[in-house]
Amino acid sequence: MTAVIEISGLCKTFHSLWREEKTALDGFDMYVEKGQVHGFLGPNGSGKTTTLRTLLGLLRPDEGVMRILDTPSADFGSVAHRVGAIVESPAFFTPFTGRKTLQLLATAGGLPRGRVDEVLTTVGLRDRADEPVKVYSLGMRQRLAVASALLKRPELLILDEPANGLDPSGIHAMRTLMSELAEQGVTVLLSSHLLSEIEQVCDSVTIIDRGRRVAHGPVSVVLAGHDTGEHLVRVADPEQAAQVLRTAGATVRSADGVLFVGGVSGPAAISETLGRAGLWVTELTPLTPDLESVFLDLTGTRPAADAPPQIAVPTRRRPPADNLINLDVRSEERA
């Protein structure tokens, strides 16, 4: 597959006369293949937006190599007409109407005015296009931002939190749009906190934490890498059931009268072992990891029972490479 975005060893530290320097990116790597919808995940302050801004030439990197559409990022200008992007919540000049906002961009980009109407229809703003942006809701502004990114029929679409402020129907529409664009061959890099959305729409994913990549690869592979093979089991007598299962060689932990059973070949083995002991299961569910649980574990942001989670202070750190989880099938194949 052809790489549309390649980032290697990207470092960025913000310096300030008045504040302590802040390392936002610390040797970050990312690889996005053509035609994919690629999810880009990370906790607040982990470096997602800094990565996108650096990739798009808004920030100057300290170190690292970046290529976009097979072009060094230093020459981004030569491929910018093929890239549509929104970074964070774009600021619009609010007295202008939605249509005027897009028309100005179309004029600057030498695009026909008819394209403005097309994208307004695509994002569902056609009937509100002649109202000033200041009366738009957050979700409508977000739709306008997506419209501005779509205006130049991009081959690569970079969207930073596109679902921010959207209502459920807007999120659904956005998901459908992503899928349609992917079917048309558009590569989409999607940064979002909506992990269920990412899981539904993305082919592959990169997870960033404190400026470093902590997981990457196809979504299914990332999830499989965190599959412990455990099953949730409910029975009338959990203590006796635990004992029977341990005797059969399974690993068992219990919480709130529920058993978590691992080290077995499958649910049938659990059912058979307990049935032979005269214990009848009332619930038997394989514990499949979802992206949220993987994300929380990898980024260490799972809320503790007794304290709200705090946003981590970025610090420069370079752990040994073998500490990283490499879930990139392509990389493994190459190796």
Partner: protein
């Protein structure tokens, strides 16, 4: 070209631009209305009174000159002390015109110069504020980031904005100056006295109008540069207000109290004044070798140089810095 067109459209669509233009028209309206209200077309009686006053003035000048020349014949040293400017310092009787003494009449030929200097000042003020807001709002809101995602050519983007801004300011200033001068000519023609302006007068007035346009354009370019460097409209306005309060007002007082003369060359206003109004004489040489003067040319060079330095700094900074 597309970029410049888009930026012209953006500038002309801004509500702040509309408000400032309305403000400018309001100032103009008040000035014109006040002039019109205080001017009446001179009748024969008014002309007679003016001619009489002018004649008295001429006689007074002749007497002054004769008296002065007598004093010089008697005691040259004492006369030099009494008449340091010489016997022609009070003016030439032949230059005294009756129209100067017309009561309650707006005399275009005499007053349009001062009014055009006033126009240069407030045109520059409005251009400064509009320009600072035009780029400052985009810098602080992130609007310019949107544009850079479209055209990641920083110099081209900033250049297009500057070209659109200065072009619009220059064209508007030129048209407004023509309207301004034309309106006052009309007031003089209908309710005052136009005088007898000749070719030289119109050439001087056109040059003054041209300098007003140049000053307002330079003010817009400087405000644009300051707001780009400081990334905010308010910062650019703050720098301008701070400069005039702290340096032009505060330091002037300190120089005065400290007896540190001459201080005029240290103030931008001296050069602005010289550029618009003409050579500024600021110091009579202590050794009697003559006056020191800030010429119109040096005033213009300071205005152009300062604008060029600010614009260069703004472009250099914008090309390199991180954009949030």
């Amino acid at each position: 070209m597309n970029l410049v067109r888009a930026e012209v459209s953006r500038l002309l669509s801004r509500r702040f631009t509309h408000i400032m233009v309305l403000g400018l028209l309001a100032v103009f309206g008040v000035t014109a209305a006040t002039t019109l209200a205080n001017s009446t077309r001179p009748d024969a009686g008014v002309w007679a009174a003016a001619q009489k006053t002018a004649e008295e003035r001429r006689e007074s000048l002749v007497r002054f000159k004769l008296n002065c020349q007598e004093k010089f014949l008697v005691d040259k040293e004492a006369a030099e002390a009494a008449f340091p400017g010489g016997c022609d310092a009070a003016g030439n009787p032949a230059d005294v015109e009756s129209s100067r003494y017309l009561e309650d009449a707006f005399v275009f030929e005499q007053e349009i110069g001062g009014l055009t200097v006033f126009l240069a000042i407030y045109l520059s003020f409005f251009a400064f504020v509009i320009a600072a807001s035009f780029i400052g709002a985009e810098m602080s809101s992130g609007g310019i980031t949107n544009l850079l995602l479209w055209r990641p050519q920083r110099s081209a983007i900033l250049g297009a904005k500057l070209t659109a801004l200065t072009g619009c300011v220059a064209v508007f200033s030129a048209l407004f100056t023509a309207l301004y001068i034309g309106t006052f000519y009309l007031i003089a023609y209908t309710s005052g006295w136009t005088g007898q302006p000749g070719v030289a007068f119109w050439a001087d007035l056109a040059a003054l109008g041209g300098r007003a346009v140049a000053l307002s354009t330079a003010a817009a370019a400087s405000a644009f540069a300051l707001a780009t460097l400081a990334r905010h409209t308010a910062a650019a306005l703050g720098i301008a207000v701070g400069y005039f309060l702290i340096w032009e007002a505060g330091a002037r007082i300190v120089f005065e109290i400290g007896g540190m003369l001459p201080y005029d060359p240290y103030f931008l206003s001296s050069y602005l004044s010289a550029f618009v109004s003409g050579d500024l004489t600021y110091w009579h040489g202590l050794d009697g070798t003559g006056d020191l003067v800030i010429t119109r040319l040096s005033g213009g060079m300071v205005v152009a140089g300062l604008t060029a330095v600010l614009i260069t700094a703004a472009f250099a900074n914008f090309r390199r810095r991180d954009l949030a």
